[in-house]
Symmetry: C2
Subunit: 213 residues, 2 copies
DNA sequence: GCGTGTGAACCTCTTCACAGCG
DNA sequence: CGCTGTGAAGAGGTTCACACGC
């Protein structure tokens, strides 16, 4: 496959299509049209067709897309056919909650292990995993060719955690920290920012109120 | 103030500027330039100046922006000078973790209360709050003019939870559900999608590997 | 001189609308 | 006839580069 350059927004939508297709498969649906997919994801059918046509011609004119085939193709595009393992750095409330919750979705991601630097937490049980010492993290990262690390530490420890991960060779990080982290060019860091989402919601709510008057 | 139409991206950046300014204030800085703000947020100085100039002229040519004044102005724009209370629906691992963690940031958001429909959970302690019955939620929402609800329920219960919130008059929702929710036009629903973030990371990591060969 | 505020060029993404295939 | 795939038009956001004020 050729590595086509494409926008993050489009990738994000492909992820939504995949999720939607998995649900459709469970419901026993065999065919889906761009319109159905669009309605499910809250966008336009043209956008769906455009996203898919970038990578190939997966549909059949007059009928639509075969659920199974399209899902396989999208997973191939995303590279999630065989998803990388995920480790969690920080065994505080958020770290443990992620491990226990089903938030990683039905796409096949599994949590490999969870780490902390607090001796009081090491060895504790978190779901079906035992919290391991942060000192073991390099070894685990090196063992896997590819791995995603989730940073769920509190205070200002995010940058230190990232530093360790980078040195061990981790190339993909999802961070819950409030402050932006500095990483080398070849390491991708993404953020989940609850406080920014709250700000956006507040802004939109209050803007509407002003407009109503 | 006039309610100017502006992109979500810009609002999101304003939220980052605010966070950055709060940190600068703690460090005792009085003046910041667009360049400093930009470096801190990982964007260009032109973008910062553009974002700010939409709403007014907050800076001083030759020197920069006064930290205190700019922060006040941005909070005014976002509507976060006096942030609305936040309630959590779902006292599972994620719901409780949010309550305990400092993820709501330093912008003044506070969790009012947390709810569940599982009798086994009601009355339990979660941080310094006691889990309340979901039946009490309407009353609380009606009591506050504005409120943000975070949906952190598991399984397919998200749509039911949203239904209750909407009926009680809640206009802003942050959802951790995997499936998209149906809401009336005037209710804003935003999502935190861990599984999509993982997909984006996987895609980017595997794309780079392909390119390296 | 330094840094803001902004017209203008640029670029990217979205939407429209229709040709073409099943 | 229905739905995909796509050129073309449109909208929106970003970057450049410079005039202006401190």
């Amino acid at each position: 496959m050729i590595a086509i350059k494409v926008s993050e927004k489009s990738i994000r939508r492909l992820s939504h299509y995949a999720r939607c297709l998995r649900l459709a498969r469970i419901r026993g649906e065999v065919i889906m049209t761009s319109q159905q997919l669009a309605t499910n994801c809250g966008i336009s059918s043209a956008a769906v067709r455009r996203d898919l046509s970038i990578y190939g011609e997966f549909g059949k004119q007059g009928s639509g897309y075969k659920v199974d085939d399209l899902l396989i193709n999208i997973e191939e595009i995303l590279g999630t056919t065989d998803p990388p393992p995920v480790i969690i750095v920080g065994a505080g409330s958020i770290g443990c909650a992620l491990l226990i919750s089903g938030l990683a979705g039905t796409g096949g991601y599994t949590y490999d292990s969870i780490y902390d630097n607090d001796p009081a937490k090491i060895g504790k049980q978190c779901g079906n995993k035992q919290v391991r010492s942060i000192d073991e993290i390099s070894e685990v990262i090196r063992k896997h060719k590819e791995i995603i690390a989730v940073i769920a530490v509190s205070g200002g420890a995010g940058q230190d955690a990232l530093q360790m991960l980078v040195e061990a060779g981790c190339k993909a990080v999802l961070s819950f920290t409030l402050e932006p982290l500095n990483a080398p060019e070849d390491v991708e860091v993404r953020y989940i920012e609850v406080s920014t989402e709250l700000d956006v919601l507040t802004h939109s709510m209050r803007r509407k109120e002003r407009a109503d008057q």
